[in-house]
Symmetry: C2
Subunit: 383 residues, 2 copies
C-alpha cells in the first residue's frame, strides 16, 4: 500500500492533536469534566460561526443538521424556495420533498454561481429559502452575503448549508443576517465525521416555535434546553466532541482570518498549477471559491480512471465528479489540515496519472513548479 | 484529580485496541479501504445481532435508531402499543407522540419485569409493539423472548430497544423472531457513542414499504441500498466504524456466550457484595438481569450525594437514579470492557462513600470480600 494523502473536499486529515484528544480515556457525558468540555466547545463553535446566538450540536452527519433545519423551521404547506446549482443544493430539495413540502425551485447550471436577485425574485411569501454556501460538487462558493441582502425585503428566513465551508472561508453568520447555518465536523473543522451543528437566529427560533413538522432526536428546543443545562439530550459522540474542541483550539490559535487567507492561497496556487498543466478549470478561475478546485479532464480521459489511478497507484485521494459531472472533473480540496505541500503533491500526482493515461502536458513538471512559484509570491501576475 | 473508573451502564470504557483503531489516519469513506472495513464491520454486527438479515448503521445516538424504528415502520393513524416499566420505555412513547401517533400504553411500575401475556392482551390490531430489552433505568432485563412468543398470535411486529443490552446478554434476534432490534455503539459494544444500528426482519421490511411517516437521514431503504453498494448514504463516523470493528473483533475472540456468562458473574458478585454491605437490591435478585445492578440507598442517605462523592472523591463513576428513582438508587454497570476488579472497586468505593455519609455496614470490608468469594466460586450457596 502506498502512503495515503487525503486531499479531498472532506473528510479532511485529522491533526495529531485532534487524534490525541480523541484517544484519551472516555469521560462520562453526565460528568463535570464533560460539562466543562462541552461548554468550551460550544463557546468556540459560536466564535467559529461568528455569532453570539445559539449553536446546537447533534450526533449525526451534516445531512442530519440539514434535516433539522427543515423539520424545526417549517409546517406542512409552508411556501419555501430552494436555490440550487449542484449536488448539495439538490439535497435541500430532496429533504423538503421527503417531508411533504412542495418547494419552489430556482435551479442554475451546475458550476454557476447562484444569482441573488433571481433568488429574491422568487422568494415572495416564502417562510424560508434554502441555499448552499460551498457547493462541494462544483467547487463554487456561493455569495450568501449578497443572497441574504437580496432576501431582506422579502422577509424570508435564509438557511445556509455550510457543511464544507464553515471555518474555511468567510461566513459571517450574525453580521450577514443568516438565520440558520448548518455544518459538520469533518471538513474545515478538522475533526472526523459524526458531529453536526446548526446556528439558530432569533427569527429562526420564532419559526421553530410554530414549526409542526415532526422530529425527535434532532429537535432544536430539546438540544437548546439540554445545552443550557451543560449537557446534551441524548448520549453525545464524546470522543468527537473532545477532538472538535482540540481542533477549534488550533483554529483559534491560527486565527480564522489567517485560515481563510491560507485556503485562498492554496486555491490560487492550485489554479496556477492546473493551468500550467494545460488543463481547464471547471470551478471559477478567481478568488471567489477557495474550498475546492474542480479540474476538467482532457478530452478522451475518464476522470474516474484518473481518480482511481491517483488513489491506488499514488495513494493520493482526490475526489471525482458527482452526478452529471462524474468522469468529467477531478476535485482537489483546500480545507482543514492542509498546506502548500499537499497542493504540490496533488498537482504532481495528477500530472503523473494523466501522463500514464496518455496525456502530454505542455511542459513536464510545470504544475508543481508553478505552484511553488505561486507560494513564493512571485507568480501573482501574468500567469 | 483521582484516577477515573467508568463503571456505568454506558458509555463504557474504551479498550486500548479500540482507541488505537480510532487513532489511525482517517481513510476516505468512498475508498476501497473503507468498503472493506464497512463490509467486515456489518458482517460482524450481524453476528452480534444473531441474525442473517439486514443490520443498518446510522450516524447518531441510540435514540436516532429508535426514531428510525418509528418512522420507517408506521403510517399516521396506525395502532401501536408501548410496554414500559422505566425511563427508556417512556422514550418509545415520547417518540411516537412526537410523530403524531396515539400509542396504546401498557405501563408497569418502574423496576417490574414486563408481563408478556398482559402485553399480548393489548396488542390486537396493532401494527407494532415497542418494548425495551435492558431497562437501564431500573436494571431489569425484560424477557423479550417470551414477549415475542406471546405476541405471535396477534400478528403485531415486535420492536426492541437493545441499546444497552446487545452483545452483553443473550438476544437471539432471528431465532426469537424479533422484527426490529435497535442498538448503539457505546454500551456492550465497547465503542464510543455516535453509531446506531437497526436490524430489520423481512416483515419489518414489508412495513417499511408501506410506512409513510417522514424521514430522510434515517431512512432504512436509503441505508440498505448504500450498504449493498459497499457504502453509506451520508458521510459516516469513520473513526467510530474503525473502533467498532476492532471491538467486534474482540467480542468474537472472546465469544458472545463467554461474554454473557462474564456479565452474569459480574452481576452475581455485585449482588452478593451489595447484600453483604447490608443494602437492598432494587433490580431483581436473580440471574435474569445482568446488565445493571440497581442498589437502594439506606434511609436518610441521598443517592445523588453518594453518586457525587464517589465521582469526585474516589473517581468512581457509577450512575444515579433517573425520574422517580433519582436519589433513591445507585446503579453499577456490568457491560462492555469490565471485569471482576471493576466490581470489587465499585463495591469498595460504595462502602467508603456510604461510611463517609454516616452509614454503618454490618461488617467492614464485607462487600469486597463477598465479591471476591463469589468470583472464586465458593460463595454460590447460602449467602
Amino acid at each position: 500500500m502506498p502512503r495515503t494523502y487525503l486531499i479531498t473536499p472532506g473528510p479532511t486529515p485529522v491533526p495529531p492533536e485532534v487524534a490525541e484528544a480523541m484517544a484519551r480515556p472516555l469521560i462520562h457525558h453526565r460528568s463535570p469534566d464533560f460539562k466543562v468540555l462541552l461548554a468550551e466547545t460550544l463557546e468556540r463553535l459560536r466564535r467559529a460561526f461568528l455569532t453570539d446566538g445559539d449553536v446546537l450540536m447533534f450526533a449525526g452527519s451534516g445531512t442530519s443538521a440539514m434535516e433539522s433545519a427543515v423539520t424545526n423551521v417549517l409546517c406542512p404547506g409552508d411556501q419555501v424556495l430552494v436555490a440550487s446549482a449542484g449536488n448539495f443544493g439538490e439535497r435541500w430539495r430532496k429533504i423538503l420533498l421527503a417531508y411533504g413540502l412542495e418547494p419552489r425551485y430556482h435551479g442554475q447550471e451546475w458550476g454557476e454561481r447562484l444569482d441573488p436577485a433571481a433568488i429574491a425574485a422568487q422568494a415572495d411569501g416564502c417562510v424560508a429559502v434554502y441555499v448552499t454556501h460551498s457547493e462541494t460538487s462544483t467547487g463554487v462558493v456561493h455569495d450568501v452575503r449578497s443572497i441574504a441582502e437580496a432576501l431582506r425585503p422579502t422577509g424570508a428566513a435564509l438557511v445556509v448549508d455550510a457543511v464544507s465551508s464553515l471555518g474555511g472561508v468567510e461566513l459571517q453568520t450574525a453580521e450577514w443576517g443568516i438565520d440558520v447555518v448548518v455544518s459538520g465536523s469533518q471538513k474545515a473543522l478538522m475533526t472526523p465525521p459524526g458531529l453536526a451543528f446548526a446556528s439558530v437566529s432569533e427569527r429562526a427560533w420564532s419559526l421553530a416555535e410554530r414549526a409542526t413538522l415532526p422530529r425527535f432526536s434532532l429537535d432544536w428546543k430539546t438540544a437548546r434546553d439540554a445545552q443550557a443545562g451543560g449537557g446534551t439530550p441524548f448520549t453525545p459522540p464524546i470522543t468527537l466532541v473532545a477532538g472538535l474542541n482540540a481542533a477549534l483550539g488550533m483554529i483559534e490559535a491560527e486565527g480564522v482570518d489567517a485560515i481563510w487567507a491560507r485556503n485562498r492561497d492554496l486555491a490560487r496556487a492550485t489554479r496556477a498549477g492546473v493551468r500550467a498543466l494545460g488543463l481547464e478549470l471547471f470551478s471559477p478561475d478567481d478568488d471567489s471559491s477557495s474550498m475546492v478546485t474542480a479540474v476538467l479532464m482532457p478530452d478522451g480521459i475518464d476522470g474516474q480512471r484518473v481518480y482511481g489511478l491517483l488513489r491506488d497507484r499514488f495513494g493520493v485521494v482526490l475526489a471525482g465528479g458527482q452526478g452529471p459531472l462524474r468522469g468529467r472533473i477531478i476535485r482537489i480540496g483546500h480545507m482543514g489540515y492542509m498546506n502548500q505541500f499537499d497542493i504540490i503533491t496533488a498537482l504532481s500526482a495528477l500530472e503523473l496519472a494523466l501522463i500514464e493515461l496518455g496525456y502530454s502536458p505542455p511542459s513536464p513538471g510545470a504544475g508543481a513548479a508553478r505552484a511553488v512559484e505561486a507560494f513564493a509570491g512571485v507568480g501573482a501576475a501574468g500567469d
